[in-house]
């Protein structure tokens, strides 16, 4: 039945290809999954720049508190206070504005950069191409999922410019601070934050429904579940997580908005509400959210490590099942964010143990990545370097998570910079997965190669400055440095640590500057990069059998799949790659099974 559906979809799209579409339908309101993927990609890169700039402002204030922040005198009071003698140099930052900076930095990086880049961008682009379909199951719904995200982007950016400025309650937006505007987390800015995320949630739900339906129903003949590339497994599992997690966030946001604007008291104890309810709802969404962010990067890493080790992924089934295990376990660990919230300590023990369990599939993935490298013929391309960087940083993030999982130790390091370090290794570390994916699939996305020496330079600088910026945060956390303060010098016990803040800030500035190399390479290669072959990496998955870039409908004929995605260095053929859709002679076919 699914095969027949796929064939019908293919014929329908082939029919579409015969009609010339105008500029607007081709580039703006396109229903082609590849163009929609590119749209998500471009919007993510734009928001990455904005989120990064917010971080630069924060880091200045932390390193040199209550000094003028360079190039900010154009920002008006009450956010920044300029002194006439500084001219255009800079202005002093208001504490509430600092709170807005870290709130918006995190919100933008999580919801408007990493999620749309990996799930929206590569999810859209890769799923039909890698399962052998001509497009998504619901192309118009797909277009709507991007264009629903656009007003969310507009609203979140507008929230900087309303009275009271952008939200300042942290991306976690804990009640009661967030539930009553008089407490100072923001006025209209918080309302816009809430509405923006509500709208974005609907965009993601549309995408999830589409991804799940497409993967289940539209795989090419022969593309069984365990012949799917791991990146498709990761996007499929992520779509299920989104489908289940977003309604909880939507409900919580709705209640928060009602508390703020309609006089309800879900989270306000004065009216009988419970502030910790927000935390439970938020983290019930928020911990699956961490895996929504990281699973696609894991999937990308698996594909790239296999391709550039020139050998099959080690333990394909263990890899697929550990992803499913991570997704399942992500639902039962949320309380580990709340050990000190006033939650019953017995619950703390329960969540500690479930958190220990979720570390096991993470360990499995790490060892299987090492197993893939073992005995390989390793090619150090830019995508490979970034994939290796992802593994390295994921190991650090995973190991630092063990400290927080142990409840007595968490008493001390909760809400310190140790958490910030852990979180950035896990979530900001995904950026290495993002870059790996972009360098790997750029030839297929745009039909051109990115410049390889610049890619390697970008990797080297990003890896060094990433670790210089975030590793010392562990030291600050161990010394007790609280998060979300703008002036550590207000505390005697932190004064001696301030040089670490300076070091981190300078590393962060260098990390930001390193991305200029990427931006240049990205834009330059779009127009002037070397024309890409159909299969520049000699990889096996189906997208490399389509033209670069793929036309509408993707494949001239529906591909038939004969084997798994990672048959590199197979003894059945002379060369070291063996595409999934290559038919071999009868004896070889029988042997390969």
């Amino acid at each position: 039945m699914s095969d027949a559906g796929a064939v019908e979809a293919q014929e329908a799209h082939a029919h579409d290809a015969h009609h010339e579409l105008g500029f607007i339908r081709t580039y703006i309101f396109s229903t082609d999954h590849k163009m929609i993927g590119r749209q998500f990609l471009f919007s993510s890169v734009l928001m990455l720049v904005i989120g990064g700039l917010l971080a630069m402002m924060m880091r200045w204030e932390l390193a040199w508190p209550e000094t003028p922040v360079p190039f900010t005198s154009w920002i008006s009071e009450p956010f920044m206070y300029a002194e006439p003698e500084h001219g255009l140099y800079g202005a002093y930052m208001d504490p509430a504005f600092y709170n807005s900076l870290f709130t918006m930095h995190a919100t933008i990086m999580i919801f408007f950069v990493v999620m749309p880049f990996m799930v929206g961008g590569f999810g859209n682009f890769l799923i039909p191409l890698m399962i052998g379909a001509g497009d998504m199951a619901f192309p118009v719904l797909n277009m709507l999922s991007f264009w629903t995200a656009v007003p969310a982007i507009v609203l979140i950016l507008c929230s900087f410019f309303v009275e009271g400025g952008a939200a300042g309650g942290g991306w976690t937006m804990y009640a009661s601070l967030s539930a009553d505007a008089t407490y100072g987390a923001g006025a209209q800015g918080v309302n816009l934050w809430i509405i923006s995320l509500l709208i974005l949630g609907f965009s993601s739900l549309m995408g999830s429904i589409n991804y799940i339906t497409t993967v289940i129903n539209m795989r090419a003949p022969g593309m069984t579940w365990f012949r799917m590339p791991l990146v498709i497994w990761s996007l499929f599992v992520t779509a299920i997580l989104l489908l289940l997690a977003l309604p909880v966030l939507t409900a919580a946001l709705g209640m928060l908005l009602f508390d703020r604007t309609m006089g309800t008291s879900f989270f306000l104890p004065a009216g009988g509400g419970e502030p910790l309810l927000w935390q439970h709802l938020f983290w019930f969404f928020g911990h699956p959210e961490v895996y929504i962010l990281v699973l696609p990067a894991m999937g990308v890493t698996s594909d790239i490590l296999s391709a550039f080790s020139r050998k099959p992924i080690f333990g394909y089934h263990a890899m697929a099942f550990s992803m499913i295990a991570l997704a399942f376990l992500s639902w039962i660990v949320w309380g580990h964010h709340m050990f000190l919230s006033g939650m019953n300590p017995v619950l703390g023990t329960a969540f500690m143990l479930t958190t220990m369990v979720i570390a096991i599939p993470s360990a499995i993935k790490t060892f299987n990545w090492l197993g893939t490298l073992w005995g390989g013929t390793i090619r150090f391309t830019s995508p490979m370097l970034f994939a290796l960087g992802f593994v390295s940083n994921f190991v650090i993030g995973g190991l630092s998570g063990i400290y927080m999982a142990v409840t007595p130790v968490d008493i001390f390091i909760h809400d310190t910079y140790f958490i910030v370090a852990h979180f950035h290794y896990v979530v900001a570390g995904i950026i290495f997965g993002m870059f790996a994916a972009l360098y790997y699939w750029f030839p297929k996305l745009f039909g051109r190669m990115m410049n390889e020496p610049l890619g390697k330079l970008h990797f080297a600088l990003t890896y060094i400055f990433f670790n210089c910026a975030f590793f010392p945060m562990h030291f600050l956390g161990v010394a007790g440095h609280m998060r979300r303060i703008y002036n550590p010098l207000q505390y005697e016990f932190l004064v001696d640590l301030q040089w670490w803040n300076v070091f981190i800030t300078m590393s962060a500035f260098c990390l930001g500057a390193s991305q200029l190399i990427f931006l240049f390479n990205f834009v330059w290669s779009l127009f002037a990069g070397k024309k890409a072959e159909d299969n520049p990496w000699q990889a096996n998955t189906l997208e490399w059998t389509a033209p670069s870039p793929p036309p509408h409908g993707n494949f001239e004929t529906v591909p038939t799949v004969y084997r798994g995605p990672y048959e590199y260095s197979s003894p059945l053929v002379q060369e070291d790659w063996l595409p999934q859709d290559r038919r071999l002679g009868p004896e070889a076919a029988a042997a390969s099974h």
Partner: protein
């Protein structure tokens, strides 16, 4: 032993710190092994154009090994730390010394029950941001919030607990060494979160008693003129000492309030 953590003066801090360092050595070893293996593989198996990669899809015994070992380590670590968590959280020590701390944007309101040991009675005393306790004794602390969630953090005592509006959360801490210890707020609570702090003064027993007597002067004896004379002699010293101790705090409190 590494000295990254702040000085610990609490009865259970050494156990927390030992657990921390145990995890540190465990994770450091894991990191070194994984990183070394990765670097070795990257070096030994780099493509020099002269070798075909091994064709292998995995190794079930290895999968089992590197599933079971981490599982045992992680679960074991969790179970081993449960008893310390329960000792700290579920088995508070008996003590008669109680203080109530209410978080408020952007001060800690400290309420002492006074000699009658009861709150909401005439002899209660409230100050902002200063807690005075006897060193070496457990202190029961009742934590509340007047507005938003704050987090009462005593780094030197390895104590941290959120204060949640609408709730009274009971905790306990103990400072075994006399001294002055900073009390930051660890949870974002608004524009004045940075700079919100108090001070814990852990006093030697005689100092603590002197402070108590100063706050709640004991009733003068009815008879015995010589004792009355001695009391009169002592009076001039106490106000000066108290003033000296409290004076430096006023600017900080004022600054905090202003912020």
């Amino acid at each position: 032993m590494l000295e990254w953590l702040p000085e610990d003066v609490s009865p259970y801090g050494a156990e927390i710190d030992s657990l921390f360092y145990f995890i540190y050595y465990l994770t450091a070893a894991a990191f070194i092994v994984v990183t070394a293996l990765m670097l070795i593989f990257l070096f030994v198996y780099r493509d020099r154009g002269d070798r075909r990669a091994a064709y292998t899809h995995g190794n079930t015994p290895l999968e089992i090994i590197w599933t079971i070992i981490p599982a045992m380590v992680f679960i074991g670590l969790g179970l081993a730390s449960t008893s310390l968590w329960e000792d700290i959280k579920l088995v508070p020590p008996d003590t008669d010394t109680v203080v109530k701390v209410t978080g408020k944007q952007f001060n800690w309101e400290i309420l002492y029950p006074g000699p009658d040991g009861e709150f909401d009675t005439a002899d209660d005393k409230q100050v902002d941001n200063d807690i005075r306790v006897p060193a070496g004794e457990p202190i029961r602390v009742i934590l509340a919030s007047r507005d938003v969630i704050h987090s009462f953090f005593l780094p030197n005592l390895r104590f941290k607990q959120d204060t949640v509006p609408g709730r009274e959360i009971i905790g306990w801490f103990q400072a075994n060494k006399p001294g002055r210890y900073e009390i930051p707020c660890a949870e974002l609570c608004g524009f004045g979160h940075s700079g919100m702090k108090g001070w814990l003064y852990a006093l030697a027993p005689d100092e603590y008693q002197a402070w108590v007597d100063e706050q709640w002067p004991p009733p003068p004896p009815a008879a015995a003129a010589p004792e009355a004379t001695a009391a009169a002699t002592d009076v001039p010293d106490a106000p000066e000492a108290a003033a000296a101790e409290t004076a430096p705090d006023m600017p900080e409190a004022a600054q905090t309030t202003a912020e």
